[in-house]
Point group: C2
DNA sequence: CTCCATTCGGCAAACGTTTGCAACAGCTTA
DNA sequence: TAAGCTGTTGCAAACGTTTGCCGAATGGAG
């Protein structure tokens, strides 16, 4: 059916090894022969069978990318960056979605293991042990999780959370809520720890609500609980939850940021679209995708297992405002900002 | 390095063919032998090499799924549905993103061709000719495009556009704008044709603005042009553009739907989050993903090339309201709706 | 005790490539 | 003129499976 290296060899009167070399080591074959082979290959519509090649070379030129939920707008920019970057290096990226399920996650890694040269594990929900286990079957780079001895690229959400909390404290908030993310998320633990420590140091209260699925519905569902705490500011695990909460609070007649300030994390495309625009911690997702691809491709060479941490940035928009203990300067700044608009 | 069928055979004292059969045709091997083999395989951590298997069986148990832009929230639900459905049939889905570029699209199909049993081509930007060409290299199912002789599943946006236009006409709008999508999009042509015909029949005007990239920025950028036409209602190629337009108009102090009504298409998750909530045409994307997978997997058997059309639904929210020629009943209905809230 | 049917498992070829080795031609060098 | 390169090509084994074919073992029927 399909045209193979053998057909090309026959049609151009050379041995199959010559055809093979024409594609994989052109400098080893006579320019004249080469162009003849190339011509017949072109004419016959020959395409090298990458699977067969992989069988013998051991390199598939594919990369697996496993994410928790492709519908979460946090991931697509990362995926796109990784794909584009990999394509430049003649690699293809196979994306798969685990539905936030650690079992599916582990299955996927095993199924993909033989079809790819390595896997990018993005925000994994598995236990550290499981990941260590899988690592023996296939090269791994983990994104958004720190495991000793494993190559990883993480975005420094701890720093982002600290900045966000300081921003809220500076505005005069003294009782905060952290709307937690899913169980098993390393990011969630980091944020929680950083936010808690920062609040405590300043003598403020931080109530943790959760765990929650990282989706809008969960944010919306938490509205009552947030109000019940009496807190005046909320930091959410991600923008999706922050947006859900924002809308649910507004539906209850709560003024944002007048009565409650809300901060998200991720800076997804939609956080600038809701009203008020969401104050949030921007994550360098595209850079993370590219870095992870590079780390994976270099890994084969030496086996050095670096861990890269990427900076995050607090983006102040309109969902945060002065709290009950606001110093005069904060209020003045707020007024000035509004005038400027 | 990796443990192969041969290692298992040696360790359990049988021939490799017996091991092979244990996995691919269990009924042909003695239960006792089978469990022994299974046990050693388990113990050694053996996983069949799907690439090697594919080489001889000709079936990879992989499906390729090519989309224009994974960051467009229209696609993820389709991708997820296709993945879940495929996984049930022991298939894996490899997703790739073309960045709306027909050249990348064609390259991807060719690169994927040998590694998958078939490809789902979602909203392709290539020409019909190119697609026909590629079809000879690999089984194809096209989503959101109708090409004679090619298996396809399309969502009936024509019907949706007709309903949307009738809705606007019924509200008393007489001058509409269609904010067009990208060049090369079959969907775009369908909407344009259906909307144009419906408007014309009713004696209303329809101005077409475009082509545009199907993203928010393009919608926002079109705000001035829309206002310049003097139209009182807009149908956008997709929700992303509709949302961009919505925000840009509001930023200019235009009241939605008081002065201008806006209708999107797709019903992405965020169309219910913006204020006012977006009136839009819901597409059955999940069903489309599942159907396409089924068609692809059946294709091998007989080669029957059906074309499936899926219904769309107009969802009326708050971004549409009475126009300048509104009949009394429409206004009354509008008032009633507001009271009900 | 023989014959036949059935079940089980081994043998080896095949899938489409890559690659180390060897052969050969045409040179250059001494 | 022999020896030694260099550049080009062919040969054949290998990668990890699947599968058609055949022989061995078992058991029941006659």
């Amino acid at each position: 059916m399909a045209v193979t290296i053998r057909d090309v060899a026959r049609a151009s009167g050379v041995h199959i090894s010559t055809v093979s070399r024409t594609f994989s080591a052109p400098h080893l074959v006579n320019p004249e022969t080469r162009s003849r082979v190339l011509a017949t290959a072109e004419q016959l519509g020959y395409r090298p069978n990458r699977a067969a090649r992989a069988l013998i070379t051991g390199r598939t030129h594919n990369i697996g990318l496993i994410v928790a939920d492709i519908a979460n707008p946090f991931f697509p920019p990362l995926i796109k960056a990784a794909e584009t970057h990999a394509r430049r290096r003649d690699y293809h990226v196979f994306v798969a979605d685990t539905d936030e399920d650690p079992i599916v996650e582990s299955d996927l890694v095993q199924a993909l293991a033989k079809q790819v040269d390595g896997i990018l594990l993005c925000s994994p929900r598995m236990s550290d042990d499981q990941i260590e286990q899988l690592r023996r079957e296939v090269p791994l780079v983990v994104i958004n999780r720190m495991i000793t001895g494993l190559p990883a690229v993480v975005m420094d959400v701890g720093q982002g959370a600290r900045e966000a909390v300081r921003h809220l404290l500076g505005l005069g908030h003294r009782h905060l809520v952290y709307l937690a993310g899913p169980r098993g998320s390393w990011t969630n633990r980091e944020i929680r720890r950083a936010a808690g420590a920062t609040a405590r140091t300043a003598g403020a209260d931080l109530t943790v609500l959760g765990p929650n699925q990282p989706v809008e519905e969960a944010g919306a569902a938490a509205a009552e609980a947030v109000l019940a705490t009496g807190a005046t500011a909320v930091l959410a695990y991600n923008d999706l939850m922050a947006i859900g909460l924002l809308q649910a609070l507004q539906d209850r007649g709560v003024d944002i940021p007048g009565q409650v300030s809300v901060v998200g994390i991720d800076d997804i495309a939609y956080s600038g679209l809701v009203r008020p625009r969401l104050t949030t911690v921007a994550n360098p997702t595209a850079a993370a995708g590219r870095t992870a691809v590079d780390m994976l491709l270099q890994q084969g060479d030496d086996g050095a297992t670096g861990q890269v941490t990427l900076r995050t940035d607090l983006i102040i928009r309109n969902s945060t405002g002065p709290g009950p203990y606001a110093p005069a300067v904060a209020i003045a700044a707020e007024v000035a900002a509004h005038v400027k608009e």
